[in-house]
């Protein structure tokens, strides 16, 4: 398994990916908000596709490339996206932000100019209770332009 470009030692196969990232690798940027795949705060990229790391066991991704929020700055558009979220005041408490950053990076990598529907589809798995999503939407629009 590679995490943010680094080869890592194989963890126990029945460890939740989220726990492995947070407790073994110290990558605490991915957050647990529900543990049931409902809130999206633990979203990471698995071979480029966003997934809830609370629903994945490390044995399922033993040969995968994982990118967490800590590695997103290396992702195409990552820094621009992060900058846009800051400037548009899309970070309030910031707890859902890691998942938003990862989901949005995956979307923008796939589609440089997503329409509203695509944006909704890409982010509807990321719950934010602070912003009402307005600033997040404005941030994403500013990046795609």
């Amino acid at each position: 398994m590679k995490v943010n470009g680094h080869l890592v030692t194989s963890p126990e196969p029945d460890t939740r990916l989220l726990d492995y990232l947070r407790d073994e690798l110290g990558l605490t940027g991915s957050k647990e908000g529900c543990g049931m795949g409902e809130c999206g705060s633990c979203t990471v990229l698995i071979d480029g596709r966003p997934a809830c790391s609370c629903l994945v066991l490390t044995g399922q991704v033993a040969a995968a490339e994982i990118v967490t929020v800590e590695g997103i700055a290396e992702h195409p558009l990552g820094p621009a996206l992060q900058e846009a979220l800051i400037k548009n005041q899309a970070v309030q408490c910031g707890f859902c932000t890691a998942g938003i950053v990862v989901s949005a990076a995956a979307l923008l990598a796939e589609e440089a100019d997503p329409d509203e529907d695509r944006m909704h589809a890409a982010l509807e798995g990321n719950l934010c209770r602070c912003t009402g999503y307005g600033a997040i939407t404005r941030a994403l629009r500013s990046v795609r332009r």
């Binding site: 908000g33 548009n88 005041q89 970070v91 932000t97 509807e124 009402g132």
Partner: protein, 749 residues
Amino acid sequence: MPEDPTLAVAAGGVRRPEGAAGRMVGRSVPSDQARAAVDGRLEYVTDRRLPGMLHGAVLRAKVPHARILRIDTTAARAMAGVRAVVLAADVPFNLLGPSEANGPVLAATTIRQVGDPLALVAAVDEGTARRAAEAIVVELEPLPVVADAAAALSPDATPLYPTGNEAGRISFASGDVETALEAADTVIERDVFTPAQEHVAIDTPGGVAVWESGRVTIWCGSQNPGLHTRQVARAMGVEVADVRMIAGPVGGAFGARNDDPMPTLLAVLAKAAGKPVAMRMTREETMISGAKRHPFSTRLRLGIDADGKFIASDMTAVADTGPYLTSGPFVLKTSAEMSVGPYRMGVARYDGRVAHTNNANAGAFRGYGVPQVAFPLETAIDEAAERLGVDPVELRMRNLLRGGERHGLYGHVITTGLRAAETLQAAAGDEWWADRKAWQAKAQGPWRRGTGIALAVKGVGMGSGRGDAARARLIISLDGRIRIWAGPNHTGQAIDVAYRQVAADTLGLPADQIEVVVGDTQLVPESGATAASRSMYAGGAAVRAVCRQLLEAAGEHSLDDLPTLAAKLVADERAEFEATFHLPDVSDTGLIDPEELGTYAPHLVYGASAQVVRLEVNELTGEIRVLGVVCAVDCGTAINPGAVIGQAEGGVAQGLGFALMEDYRLADGQPVTRSLENYLIPTIRDVPEIRTLLIAGDEPSGPMGAKGMAEVVIVPTAAAVAAAVADAVGVRPDRLPITPEMLLMARAS
């Protein structure tokens, strides 16, 4: 520093407030924590790890009401890796507040709701702690479950406490309401129910506690760190000064972290374990045992004369606070005061009661009892407008309270800073309201179109007679830096940034020479809660006051050369300042006996919000699609407009959830909605474009004209949605959330 002078306010339709010509005030400045949050580097209290740390778990009650006969921890203690097991008898003073009804830290003799903590376990890892907690054997004798608030108040109900089930009551009349209602040309009656609402801060309660030399440091989210230090000190039998709360970074609050017992649970377990302990609640634990918005059953009769004047309002309410007293009686105070909205009333009466039940404990939630009374009042006004054939904006304008006038229930004189009329007019001026008839006419297929409007006010601060105050401390150090420790804490609103904006403009200094720290009780003087829409208003005013002390001490010396000024002030032993801002009480208390001011706690200052909702209803399925919301906000000077807009949009989104999908349910005391799989909150797909309009205003008692606004924005949303539904399909919802099933059934009848 995050300040970016080129940054423009992002949302459309923003009006820059007048009098915001300062260098920092009026500019949109991101949160200081934003950069670390987008990089994943920001360490929340629930991310914190200490060497040698143990992990905690809570054994929680699975039944709503029972007598505890025996708790056997033998098996749990024998498990490998278990370091401590704590029961009620191990807690020095086993109460979360001064009275029995505040609830125990750990249940000792009686279980009163599902989720009551019975035991704490510390172990080498979380899995072991949770397995050990489940290995504890509990023998119970079931007791009758009190599951209905109205029934709980009847004389033959099972009493949860020796004094009965009434946890609080507010009853007040400004005159003879019955006679006035008889004389009214039109009387609108509403009988409504608004449900319990779950906060769903994405970060569940948790943190770390460590004891060193008889003192405890607790990293745990809190909206009221000072209150939590007192709660911990009481339970542990130590001095308040021996408890340090570091209340962030934390992932959201919305009222949930006012009443959260987690700091006390952490302190108790870490003491018993003799090691640092981390503990975090799962989402299910949070949903079962965390506080909710109070469910309310409310009846209203609104009497209107031939000229469309409101001549009488009579509201009765029953709120379900669950078994424990946290905010219930205080929630009722704001309900009573806001039961007449921002309107003149010929006479008014409010009679509200809070009941104890074995349902989920209810506490503080953004809006604090006001959405529950605004829903019946505003929907009654909308119904009246329809019945009288008067435009709903016009009907409100005829009755609106202006700044400096007397409150509709208590008759106290309110601030001259209220801009409710301007706020309503601004919302109604938006094309979504102005063009609603033409837009409605273009509806197609089964999707019927409707537009609704509603207005609300919410008091700023704890209210008169409560001794509400905030404080700030300032030090100028020899390196020329200014440090300010200020109250109400940041739980997501970037309040520390706004304090710095106020300080920068008060001192005439660049913001990057000023550091602001919030949320640490060892550094920040007691400033009360991040609640009651008071942070910007009270905390900002304290910051401004402490900055003025520095200016006064500096005298003719310039602040351009801070190191020189600092050297002089240090030599004079005058380099440290502390200021207190006492929130002003009403000076004319109207009908309230001044001796009883705190009983009713009327406000001098109110924020207002008027909202327009446009939506479509599918006639065949009852589905509702919200297509846009206009949110006009009377916030005085917007210190950080982008942050204000963020609060407005977030509040409206929570209001839409309350209106359309959020419904915390129990069945005979058993929580049904235990996870985000069956308790739904709005996703990005559910929240339409929100047009936020910041209304030019100036609150005379606030810092640079600012006042609080982050609660009032959730208040009118549900009523505006209901009005839009009525406009679309002719059904007036009388309970929330407005679901497709309910709409179809209402249309069928």
